[in-house]
């Protein structure tokens, strides 16, 4: 996956994308309220880590981190529509940075791979049955 990260432009691209992406997210009434009262600097660091991962870059996110990190939001009603909104902003951000569609699709696919963990669901049907 490091090929994708380099193709997009590595860390400078992530830095350029963080402000644009975060501004899109905070301007979107569907999801902005999830960010009320958060420490913006800490949040920007998290956005950067997330974008680095989505761009195929170095990261040490695990599915468990994703679950733990969003569990309080799931309790507040975080669902697929909100996840879709974030993916939409991710895609828009990359378009604005003139990333080509093929690479955008790859980034979106990586982001999609976190959906079940972020929303606190299990990808394994038999585990889901225990909930």
């Amino acid at each position: 996956m490091s090929g994708l990260y380099e193709a997009i432009g590595g860390e400078p691209a992530v830095n350029a994308a963080v402000d644009i992406f975060y501004r899109h997210v905070l301007s979107d009434d569907r999801i902005a309220h999830f960010f009320d009262g958060v420490d913006m600097e800490r949040q920007a660091q998290k956005q950067k880590a997330f974008l680095t991962m989505a761009f195929g870059g170095p990261h040490n996110y695990t599915g468990l981190d994703m679950r733990k990190g969003h569990a309080h939001l799931v309790k507040q009603g975080l669902n697929d529509s909100h996840f879709d909104a974030v993916v939409e902003h991710l895609s828009t951000t990359l378009s604005e940075l003139n990333v080509d569609q093929d690479h955008i699709d790859q980034v979106v696919a990586i982001a999609e791979s976190t959906r079940e963990d972020v929303l606190g669901r299990s990808a394994e049907p038999d585990e889901a049955a225990q909930v």
């Binding site: 963080v18 402000d19 975060y22 501004r23 905070l26 301007s27 009262g37 913006m40 600097e41 920007a44």
Partner: protein
Amino acid sequence: MATVKFEAQDIELAEGESVLECLERSGHPIPNSCRSGVCHSCLMRATAGELPPAAQKGLKETHRAQGYFLSCCCYPDTDLSAVRVDADSMRIGARVLHKEALNERVLRVVLEAKEPLDYFPGQFVNFARADGLVRSFSLASVPALDDNLEFHVALVPGGKMSGWLHHEASPGDDLELMGPLGNCFYVAGNSEQPLLLLGTGTGLAPLYGIARDALHQGHTGAIHLFHGALVAADRYLVDALSALARDHANFSYHPCVRDEAGSEWVQAEVDAHALAMIPNLKGWKVYLCGNPTLVRQVQRKAFLAGASMQDIYADAFLPAGG
């Protein structure tokens, strides 16, 4: 559950308890103020065990390497041996030189440090009184312009340190200083960038330091200082800031008073007025100091108005806890 080893005792951490809370519960008061990892008053050192990264967030690399950590943010998963920080190695002595009322509630306190304090205007230091009381105050002085250290101290109802400084402390009294700390200061190198300085109450102290520092360093871009108050009597340094605006064409002072009309200020919420005057903050550097709720709100508004996250410096004055 993990155990904290402290002064020859093994104390078991309760669920969700920080090292600070654990030690307080077991009768070991540790100096502290903000209890949020900002003021660094509750600094301790680990002699054995593994520190969670969050417990060392914001510390200098050299301090991290020596095992220093913030006990208020330390939630260890495994056993930890902790010691009090050797006070002398981290603190410098200071003496009260001068006190002067800036308005009915705000006192200018000038301290003389017994050894040079290397700081940027806008950073803060912790005052530590001999009995262990610790509180944070921002530096309003500029090392290149002022011989001594200047602070603006608002009288907080029931405030132990502010009450003592206002009513009891007198020239010659000793204090210890810890710091400086904080990232809210002017950095030379982009002298044309416009600056927005916005604060409430004694959030003016760091902003006053930052403005004078920027002007002294030859900043040529516009500098807009907005000071918010509820009533006109809450304003202070009005003459000094007006004089600064007269002497520097690129500096302007915008006092805002929410609840009173008058000819010497704008009657408005300070953030609403600033953003109405400067709706597009793209390319601006933004400094926000004072009331934590306002600081966080304006941080978000400034970002949405186009300022880059890296160009927004927020110094929320958190009330002292516990």
